[in-house]
């Protein structure tokens, strides 16, 4: 797929393909479609990041709340989005020892209690050890800082999802 093919997509095709770049927030892709034609995939990525940056603080928190727990109930029940499942499995979160699983559950709960949104991290850039380490560290952050930290991770996730689509899904167009 090249950027010209992307620019030719109807909004329905575009949202179908790019609608989960930001977890469970198809409104992001549905909004940036208005800005086509995109000169490059970098321009598309920038449009997505701009939409996120222009959300008010409460909207950024809302966006984080659309994310699942890491190694949480959705992974166990098979109710993650496909993208999230692949990412969590790649980081080894489907194969935690019982002690690691308890520790992650406890840290997830502690984090959500403190910040009012779930811990979000780009799982593809981490493994279970670095994730547990980051959870412990980031639980100490100030809430306003941690919202921004989570949003930076959302952008990394979105960027990697975009690049996966470009690389993998050429036959879909």
């Amino acid at each position: 797929m090249d950027i010209r093919a992307v620019n030719d997509l109807s909004f329905e095709e575009f949202v179908n393909i790019f609608g989960n770049l930001v977890e469970k927030c198809p409104i992001v892709a549905a909004t940036v479609w208005s800005q086509r034609p995109f000169g490059s995939f970098t321009a598309l990525e920038k449009a997505i990041n701009d939409f996120i940056d222009h959300l008010p603080q409460s909207g950024k928190e809302g966006l984080l709340r659309c994310h699942p727990d890491l190694a949480g109930r959705d992974l166990q029940r098979g109710t993650l989005t496909q993208e999230s499942r692949v990412e969590q499995v790649a980081a080894g979160l489907d194969a935690l020892g019982s002690e690691e699983a308890s520790r992650m559950e406890r840290l997830n709960d502690e984090y959500k209690q403190r910040f009012g949104f779930p811990f979000v991290i780009c799982a593809r850039m981490n493994d279970k050890a670095t994730i547990l380490h980051q959870m412990t560290e980031r639980c100490q952050n100030e809430p306003a800082l941690e919202t921004l930290r989570g949003i930076e991770e959302v952008k990394k996730i979105s960027s990697l999802r975009l690049h996966s689509i470009i690389l993998v899904d050429t036959p879909r167009l």
Copy 2:
């Protein structure tokens, strides 16, 4: 369910219950959760409408683009959200004659071609005859006006979905 029970919900429970008040946009419920405690359901409804009103024009168009066609492929394939399916069936859109179906398909396409987002109407407040009439009329509107018109319908849909949850889903809490 009363508003006190709503105010006691975790963000996960809240998004699970209210996440589709605005079609495929759980970020709306996930954002307004920050504003609890709500004094009433009217206050919750107002918070949702305020979020929508504060979206930029492109974001409002994006929100409309998250909606399915009326009597479109998702209805035929069974891939509508539960809420949307109930609403489309209530308006008789699953039982169109072949001439009505062709006319609706043609009007859907004409509308999307003109505005760059799908025709959105509160199906529960209409039937197939008034929907076809509205589609024909609204296809003549100016784009900026029609975005606002669509958004007003989104708010009606959201309000009726909220009231359905209050009435029907008490046992879930």
